[in-house]
């Protein structure tokens, strides 16, 4: 079974928090680019096709991106 796991996965020890932030940026950039190309706001399915993320993963990714943004915002809570 260990071999099945190794065969299926090659992403090893990377922490998910990092990947989620990267996905957040991918989504943000894709949404901007698609918005310009289409002349309207891109939809989740369009962004999913461009980023190869699942629609549900996009919802998680934009949340991670929000966390990145908030680092640069003053603490107000």
């Amino acid at each position: 079974m260990g071999e099945i796991k190794r065969f299926m996965r090659d992403d090893g020890m990377i922490k998910i928090s990092r990947t989620m932030k990267e996905n957040g940026w991918k989504v943000k950039l894709a949404a901007q680019r698609l918005g310009q190309e289409l002349g309207r706001q891109a939809t989740v399915d369009e962004i999913a096709a461009a980023t190869e993320l699942e629609p549900e993963e996009i919802a998680v990714a934009i949340e991670a991106n929000r966390d990145v943004d908030s680092i640069y915002r003053p603490v107000y809570q």
Binding site: A31, A42, P55, I58, A59, V60, I62, E63, Y76
Partner: protein
């Protein structure tokens, strides 16, 4: 949860009342409604409204103490309905509570704009509450008005 109507989909989420779960709750609702192919802006609107309602349950309903928050999300065609329920202290005067800038926690630097935001970012807002029993906030929105 009935599923008699092909177009009716429903999910229920139950979380503990704590601030870490506020981000989780809005992410779950956002993930659920991605099946309606919203724009990121529509997602952000719904997330803001859900956040405000869940934050109210945590801060006001349970006064930052223990409790459960229930979030039901229903989809019918392109319409979504999100219901956030707590079993906390309840609201004595709902009309007053919903007035912009009204807050009972000025010492916590609350803005009193939570209900105003929910109203602004969603199509419909209904609030039910009973003192000592709890509060239910019902948020509705149509997804997909592309102009």
């Amino acid at each position: 949860m009935e599923k008699s109507d092909q177009w009716r989909q429903k999910m229920k989420l139950i979380i503990d009342s704590n601030s870490q779960n506020e981000a989780f709750a809005r992410t779950v609702v956002a993930a659920y409604i991605t099946r309606l192919d919203p724009t990121l802006e529509e997602l952000a609107d719904v997330k803001t409204a859900v956040s405000e309602a869940v934050t109210n349950s945590i801060l006001h309903g349970y006064n930052n103490g223990e409790g459960e928050i229930e979030i039901v999300c229903e989809i019918k065609g392109q319409d979504i309905m999100v219901e956030i329920t707590d079993h906390g202290v309840g609201i004595p005067d709902i009309e007053k509570a919903m007035e912009p800038l009204y807050t009972t926690k000025p010492e916590w630097e609350r803005s009193g704009m939570g209900f105003a935001f929910m109203e602004a970012f969603m199509d419909e807002l209904e609030v039910y509450s009973e003192v000592g029993k709890g509060t239910r906030v019902k948020l509705s929105k149509h997804i997909g008005d592309r102009t």
